[in-house]
Symmetry: none
Subunit: 207 residues, 4 copies
DNA sequence: GATGAATGAGGATTCATTCAT
DNA sequence: TATGAATGAATCCTCATTCAT
């Protein structure tokens, strides 16, 4: 039998077999997202998670092997969610630069609505370095692919590649930190516009 | 008499009063830098630190009040060190864009030589959020000031400011992550050149 | 439904929810009484307590927040127990002096059976000064109330009050120390009789 | 060579040989009295003592073998001081009851001026049970001796002895606790008078 | 004698994980 | 499945005492 396994349904022996089980599991995942996002990995506790979920402590281990495992699941899930959101923002027949602007705008919005991703993905560097690195490498990869398309279509300079992709990613991440997580009151449209202008034609004066 | 007090010599009741004491304290700081950089805050242990330093466990508390305190000291010290390195890289009479290139080059080098700063400063988000935020806000501030000078001198477009400063910082940080921490074999001159070109005139094709 | 909450069942988040839990908690309380009584607060250790109780170290913290907390509970419990024992000794229609004699006799017996109360309540002076003071103030208060009734009934001189109450308490406490804790072989009836005679008509010779 | 050894000059190898040494030693004793009286034995620290004394940590061990030793010295010293004060209060040709009144009055005063004795002597029960017991047994003994004299002179009933001595001691101690340590504003003359009246002729009404 | 650095045993507390019901 | 009690390794921190200068 072939089973599609999404991020959270990885090969593990702990799949719920009843509906009630599925509901409990989901409650635990939501609770863990809140707990990790609020306290960070190390200060988060299984008791804290089961407390939020309204289940007994022991029930956690009915669905997850360890604190690490659920954390990795969440990183994976959030990483997928960001990617998906960015993908949704991409409209066909957009210019390459418009695509980047949309992606940034979508990201700023997502970050504002899910501030915890910052904490969770960032802390993954310590808890699960592999997930962390994979997340950013996948993201840079996607940006680089978009750049390649932009080159092909003539929108972008032909001599750009990996360096520019990482630069764009860093730009986006820190704008998210500044204008979504720390300053939720910012005007995202304006931020995206300014960043995109810089990306398009730089900051040198045009003399 | 004027006494310079660096970050690590802040008013605390635990200053060494002899030379021997000063040496021990320094050994502990070096050991802590290695331990935190290698294991992250939570997996680092006082035993690990004193083990590396070659002192007894209790000696740690002769100079520091707690694991938290030494960590904060380190974040502060590293934050100051990065800043100083960037400042040293700034040559008088450079154009604004050359200044940014120098700063990035200096940072990439520094990051390669002190890979642990990534772990330490990054983990500060969880251990000591205030330091973390302050570090990045101070850094962005300095970049913004340099941009303002570039505007004044006519090197840069007059309509740039905070958004661009944060974007540049994010760009630098992620290039450091990719090309200093994860890929120490990279050609920093080329990375700086490419990033600076993007910064100067953007990535749009010039038709 | 009315639930009686004794001193040790105060509102805390650590109440056992099963019978097994209740048994374990009680074992810990008994063990702590022995440990504190034998070694005093500071030399007592959680390991010592759980060792006596036959539970794992960590189980202590399933039911108590800290070494201080259980100590306070014990002081409270013992304070209540002494009070209760003294109250039980009071027979209706006794004369005021007979009441004091019964109270002392009951106390001497109680002290002999629970020698540890001396150590525990006494050390409370340092560990938990408030409990300590409260214990003795409550006790003196009760004695004073009994004296007041004796005055009303005409058994006692009308000009006595707080000073006499504290004097009686001190007398009882030290007789307990000498004849119950240190000299368990003493004849309590004789001690009570002598002390009561002194209390009734003093020690001056009757010429 | 015969050396008179007072309480604090017990056979120990640590007698100061110079004047400066004697002064340092005394500073340490005064500091220890304050420190123990304020914090109790266990919360007191050698650092606390040397800090108050204004000497270096290591200097403590130039004069005392251990924390226990200095504590025992202090208990002994204070015990002697109380005894001496009580002795001084005894005027020749006083009646036995007047003698007890004077002793109590002297004690109340002493306790008011040296509140720390309560803490120190009381905590001795845990730190140095032998000193503690000896202190009270010596005190009871002295009272009993005075009672015997009172009997001989015909002032007191002939059938009193150890029980009454302990009762009087307890009375005194608790009146000291209540009216000197906790209520320094009390009228000691009145307290002594009331307690003495009770002692003389009891509290039964005279019908 | 005086100083203060060095030592390390000792103890409280936390919490992920296991287990019995 | 759900529950919550039991477990004990792990770790921070304290502080009396020793020691080198």
């Amino acid at each position: 039998m072939i089973t599609r396994t999404s991020a959270l349904e990885r090969p593990t022996t702990k799949q719920p077999r009843t509906d009630r089980g599925r509901r409990t599991r989901q409650k635990l995942i939501d609770a863990a997202t809140a707990e990790f996002g609020e306290k960070g990995f190390h200060d988060a506790s299984i008791i804290g998670i089961t407390g939020r979920a309204g289940t007994a402590l022991g029930s956690f281990y009915t669905y997850f092997d360890s604190k690490d495992e659920i954390f990795r699941s969440l990183v994976q899930e959030l990483s997928d969610a960001v990617k998906e959101r960015a993908a949704l923002a991409l409209v066909p027949n957009q210019s390459a630069l418009d695509a980047e602007r949309s992606a940034l705008a979508a990201f700023l919005e997502f970050a504002r609505d899910h501030k915890e991703i910052y904490r969770i993905i960032d802390e993954a560097e310590f808890v699960d370095p592999q997930s962390y690195r994979e997340h950013y490498e996948r993201t840079a990869q996607r940006i680089e692919e978009r750049l390649a398309e932009g080159i092909k279509s003539g929108d972008l300079r032909p001599d750009i590649g990996e360096v520019e992709a990482w630069a764009i990613m860093g730009m986006n991440v820190f704008l998210g930190l500044r204008f979504s997580v720390w300053g939720a009151d910012a005007d995202h449209t304006e931020v995206s516009r300014a960043a995109n202008a810089m990306l398009a034609t730089g900051i040198a004066s045009r003399r």
